[in-house]
């Protein structure tokens, strides 16, 4: 790693001021597992690291409207074990429980997970100077793209968004509280993550360099049922090939409203309006699940080596819906 200064502020305000260094780069560090790895690979070489663990809110509290306010400093293990989160937003707990490994869940944070950078192996290698690192191309289309996007492939970047939590956050309609030099603002999770274009390709979200994500606010869930299904190649420590969070508002056994969000298939958590349209007004059963899954992938545009992800995505959507229907979809275990 390139040598860096180290700051350890204890308030949001001090974090923001520590992040402002003109002409040089300062980055916030929470759990640090993603950042330290990137620094070791010279993907990023900041001049200053700002440890935000002692400044960020680490609590999960109920809000007056029946929702939850989750501090960005909450360790993922604490999210997994929180009874309120499990009761109100079970897909968040499902996703959080599958993140990484115990070591990662112990020290990784909600904010860190949401803001982590892509796993794309071109991005993560110093040898490849891609768009995200100020270069002039993306190496995946002509190269090894078996783990890249099958939606949103207009370019310039074909990464899949790496955050597990982002998908249920979008599905449950979360908003993020952000603090910067001009005070605070909130951004809907669905608007926080950005599809890449030539102007914004170096980032995956709207967070500015001198801003910090401080809270995830989840609205009262209402009378919904949710399902979450992940498909992984390896059961131990691995990134999902595709996953889905489905949140349904029911009217008896008829689906009144639906939110279907796909993970690991696009540069952002991918809201599938195709799948949602195939669900609304239908009876919740396996046939509906199958049809919605088909709809979810009909507009997929895979790259040269990741066509197999279309089938896997279809399965993830189908089984998430089957979960909600109480149909107990299969999950392979060694």
């Amino acid at each position: 790693m390139k040598a860096f200064e180290y700051a350890n502020p204890t308030t949001e305000k001090d974090v923001v001021s520590a992040l402002r260094i003109d002409g040089r780069i300062a980055l916030p560090m929470a759990g640090g597992m993603d950042l330290v790895a990137r620094m070791k690979d010279y993907v990023t070489s900041p001049d200053r690291i700002v440890n935000v663990k002692n400044a960020l809110d680490k609590t999960i509290v109920a809000t007056p409207d029946g929702g939850l306010k989750i501090g960005a400093g909450v360790n993922i293990v604490d999210l997994v074990e929180n009874a309120q989160v499990a009761k109100l937003y079970p897909a968040v707990v499902s996703a959080a429980g599958e993140v990484g490994t115990p070591q990662i869940r112990n020290h990784g944070t909600v904010g860190g997970n949401v803001n982590q950078r892509p796993r794309c192996w071109y991005y993560r290698a110093e040898d490849f100077v891609c768009y995200k690192k100020g270069g002039n191309r993306c190496f995946s289309p002509a190269g090894e793209n078996q783990y890249h996007a099958i939606f949103g492939n207009e370019g310039p970047s074909h990464i899949v968004h790496p955050s597990s939590l982002a998908v249920p956050f979008v599905a449950y309609g979360a908003t993020f509280r952000i603090v910067g030099p001009n005070g605070e603002r909130t951004v809907a999770a669905s608007e926080y993550f950005t599809m890449p274009n030539m102007q914004n390709v170096k980032k995956e979200n709207v967070l500015a360099d001198d801003e910090i994500l401080t809270h995830v606010m989840l609205p009262a869930p209402g009378n919904v049922k949710s399902g979450h299904y992940e498909v992984r190649y390896k059961e131990s420590h691995d990134w999902p090939l595709a996953f889905s969070t489905v949140v349904l508002t029911m009217n008896g056994n008829t689906i009144r409203a639906a939110r279907v969000v796909l993970g690991a298939v696009a540069p952002v958590p991918w809201r599938s309006t195709d799948a949602e349209q195939a669900l609304v007004g239908k009876t919740l059963n396996e046939a509906t699940a199958v049809a919605a899954a088909e709809a979810a992938v009909k507009a997929a545009k895979p790259l040269s080596r990741n066509g197999y992800k279309v089938q896997i995505t279809k399965t993830a959507v189908k089984r998430a819906i089957m979960q909600i229907a109480g149909l107990k979809p299969v999950q392979l275990r060694a």
Partner: protein
């Protein structure tokens, strides 16, 4: 660059039949210690962190080395400027490794070493390495075998062909063979490149004392590595001492100093300080060896009654930059009429090195999947089909018996025909495979010291890779002297101890155990000679058992071991033993059965259980032998499902030089494993053979066959990634080949 070899070790002249010593010190028919489960002696040091691996050696004044490597798969070094690196405070040495303007200046793979520096801290060493300015003339590269074999492909190395075709290996008459065939299968099979991924990366600590070099090296061969340093540095071998008390895995990749060892020694000389130089994980993937890939286009015939008649194969593969890729083919089964031609293909990637059972996992897979396809043609059960086509049975080729034992224990009779007929997305299947290995080994030497206080030290210039060698040395000595294992001090891992071969080819046990047995036997006899007169007997009448020395026919006439040793007085026993023929042999066989579940809606494979029947001659240390089998099987499971050295096809760079996207099984990925070690009097009578490699050969093949049984589709290449499973299912649905 290590060659793929089945047996390693020093080569004394071939012996014929058991020697006098081998008869005198024959293995006991009812051992007190051998073949039992004795806890690994170095377990406590390893679990407490006290065990010092080469990576842990911190010497006074030690600094850190770092290698500068070519980022390009193919390039010529035209200039190296060390000035900026040398100017960094804390840098103590800087050397050029590839001299510009020489033939050596052509870098032939990403990671090829070019220069090196040494600095006070690891962090500074990395800073300094990044300040070394290397100018490259980038050349065209080839990133995979397809590119290398294209017309007009660039040369992997200047003025060198990309392929090297071997001679045909032939037997019988192919035309006749195919005439006799009622069914013919014609397919292409393939296995991929994987790297060793030793948990402790390659490297060493080098320290000079005048012109004498001590090197703590993570190596599978202390003596061979010592010679390597001597030759590479052009110094007398007697000036070099190599120490490896503990090492974190080798799997065939650690047999010499390699470039980094010689670089480390040179840096230490220039800096006048000890230098620690270890590869990081990326360097380890790029430049410490790999298992070559293997492809074969095979046409094979079987008669109506299930006898193999013909086998015609063109095979190829890549061992990287200029290295070979051969493997046995066909594997095990009897094809009376056969021809096989192999072509080595060279690409700009790291060179292969022997990897646990070199060649066999490849030959096995390329044959075993074909066997199931042929069995289906004649509608025979895969086990019966295999038994029908085995070579003649003997103690080193016992597959017929093992198939039956294993099938019964596994519940093979419950297997359904190809393609699980039950509804639902999870398909279950069974698979089987067979393997062989040589093992054996010769040329070990040992030295036994017995002091007048009864203490026993057995010195052997061998090494323990985690195989349990240290424990085996103590057990062998204890057995021979009639002592508890705790009364023996094994000393290994140092070139100050008698010369032994490297630990490769599964030859350690067979090469050192005769030497130890004989050394301990002679030492015991020396003690007997001292006390025999006092006991009123001749030395031949004495035995050593349960910590006593006594007359065979009158147990009350004896004394404790300690009392017996006291008689040594000022003349401790100090004797040597050498490997002699008659206590070891060569040739093992084994079979494996697997059960898998395949989710046909995702392509995910889960192995549910694995069973193996394996022989290894006389089992010396049962506990550690079992661990070898577990470990070999898990290694092959990784080969089947997970690990994969992936090169970007455009740039030739490795895209996963880490342990995150180079996938390895974790606890949740490992199924139930049952081991049946064959411990018959006949196998015991064969003496010591070895077990390190055989268990890792055929698991992948059995898993692939189980996937075929489950899904009804044949996956003919590894790894069994979901994309292959789903593609094969898709192809079958649209009427493609079975």
């Amino acid at each position: 660059m290590a060659k793929a070899q089945e047996g390693r070790g020093a080569q004394p002249p071939a012996a014929s039949g058991p020697t006098a010593n081998a008869k005198k010190y024959a293995w006991p028919p009812k051992p007190a210690v051998l073949s039992t489960r004795v806890k690994r002696l170095d377990g406590p040091d390893k679990v407490t962190g006290k065990a010092k691996y080469s990576f842990d050696i911190n010497r006074p004044g030690m600094i850190y080395g770092k290698v500068v490597r070519s980022p390009h798969p193919h390039a010529r070094v035209t200039a190296i400027d060390l000035n900026a690196a040398k100017a960094l405070p804390g840098v103590r040495a800087a050397i050029v490794w590839k001299e510009p303007g020489t033939p050596a200046a052509e870098c032939k793979y990403q990671g090829d070493p070019v220069a090196a520096i040494a600095a006070d801290t690891e962090e500074l060493a990395e800073d300094a390495a990044r300040l070394v300015k290397v100018t490259y003339d980038v050349m065209e590269h080839v990133a995979n075998v397809e590119q290398a074999m294209e017309n007009g492909a660039p040369a992997w190395a200047a003025g060198t062909a990309n392929t090297r075709k071997g001679n045909a290996e032939e037997n019988g008459n192919l035309d006749d063979g195919f005439k006799q065939a009622a069914h013919v299968v014609e397919q292409t099979y393939a296995t991929h490149v994987i790297t060793h991924v030793c948990m402790e990366t390659h490297g060493c600590v080098c320290e000079w004392d005048g012109d004498k070099l001590t090197a703590w090296v993570t190596t599978q061969g202390v003596h061979g590595t010592k010679d390597g340093f001597a030759q590479g540095l052009k110094i007398p071998a007697t000036n070099v001492r190599v120490i490896t008390q503990y090492m974190g895995g080798g799997f065939g990749s650690k047999f010499g100093p390699d470039a980094q060892g010689l670089i480390c020694a040179r840096l230490a000389k220039e800096a006048g300080k000890p230098v620690k130089l270890f590869l990081d994980r990326k360097e380890e993937h790029l430049d410490s060896g790999n298992r070559p890939s293997a492809y074969a286009k095979i046409k094979a015939g079987v008669s109506a009654d299930g006898k193999l008649t013909a086998f015609d194969a063109q095979s190829w593969g890549t061992g990287g930059a200029g290295a070979n890729s051969n493997f046995p083919l066909p594997y095990i089964y009897n094809f009376p009429n056969r021809r096989r031609v192999h072509t080595d293909v060279f690409i700009n990637a790291g060179q292969q090195r022997a990897m646990r059972a070199p060649g066999h996992p490849q030959g096995c897979f390329l044959t075993e999947i074909l066997m199931d396809e042929l069995a289906d043609r004649v509608r025979m059960d895969p086990v019966e089909f295999r038994i029908k086509n085995l070579p003649e049975a003997n103690l080193s080729q016992a597959w017929g018996e093992y198939f039956r034992m294993g099938a019964k224990a596994f519940g093979w009779e419950k297997r359904h025909a190809t393609g699980d007929p039950r509804p639902g997305p999870i398909k279950n299947g069974f698979g089987v495979s067979a393997h062989r290995w040589g093992g054996g080994g010769r040329g070990g030497r040992a030295h036994c010291d017995i002091a007048s206080d009864g203490s026993v030290v057995m010195k052997v210039g061998t090494q323990d890779l985690g195989t349990g060698t240290r424990t085996m040395v103590a057990m062998l000595t204890a057995e021979t002297l009639g002592l508890p294992v705790s009364a023996v001090t094994p000393e290994i891992g140092d070139t100050n101890y008698p010369v032994c071969g490297a630990s490769g080819g599964s030859t350690t046990a067979a090469s050192i155990s005769p030497a130890i047995r004989i050394a301990a036997g002679k030492a015991r006899d020396a003690v007997f000679a001292k006390v025999a007169p006092e006991l009123g007997a001749s030395a031949d009448d004495l035995v050593a058992e349960n910590g006593r020395v006594f007359v065979k026919t009158n147990a009350s006439k004896g004394m404790t071991w300690k009392d017996a040793c006291r008689r040594l007085g000022a003349e401790p026993v100090s004797v040597d033993g050498e490997w002699e023929d008659g206590l070891s042999s060569t040739g093992t066989s084994g079979v494996q059965f697997t059960e898998v579940d395949v989710d046909i809606e995702t392509g995910i494979v889960k192995v549910k259980r694995i069973l193996t029947v394996q022989d290894c001659g006389l089992i010396l240390s049962r506990l550690t032998a079992e661990s070898q089998v577990y470990g070999g099987i898990v290694g092959s499971l990784n080969f089947a499902l997970f690990e994969d050295r992936i090169l970007d096809r455009v740039t030739g760079h490795m895209v996963n030089p880490n342990m995150e996207s180079y996938l390895l099984a974790g606890l949740s990925d490992v199924p139930k494993i049952d081991i049946m070690l064959v411990d018959s009097p006949e196998q015991r009578g064969r003496g010591v053979i070895g077990i390190g490699e055989p268990p890792t050969v055929s698991t992948a093949s059995a898993i692939a066959n189980a996937v075929r049984n489950a899904t009804g589709v044949t996956i003919r290449s590894l790894p069994l990634h979901p994309h292959r499973i789903l593609a094969a299912i898709e192809e079958q649905k649209s009427g493609g080949t079975l």
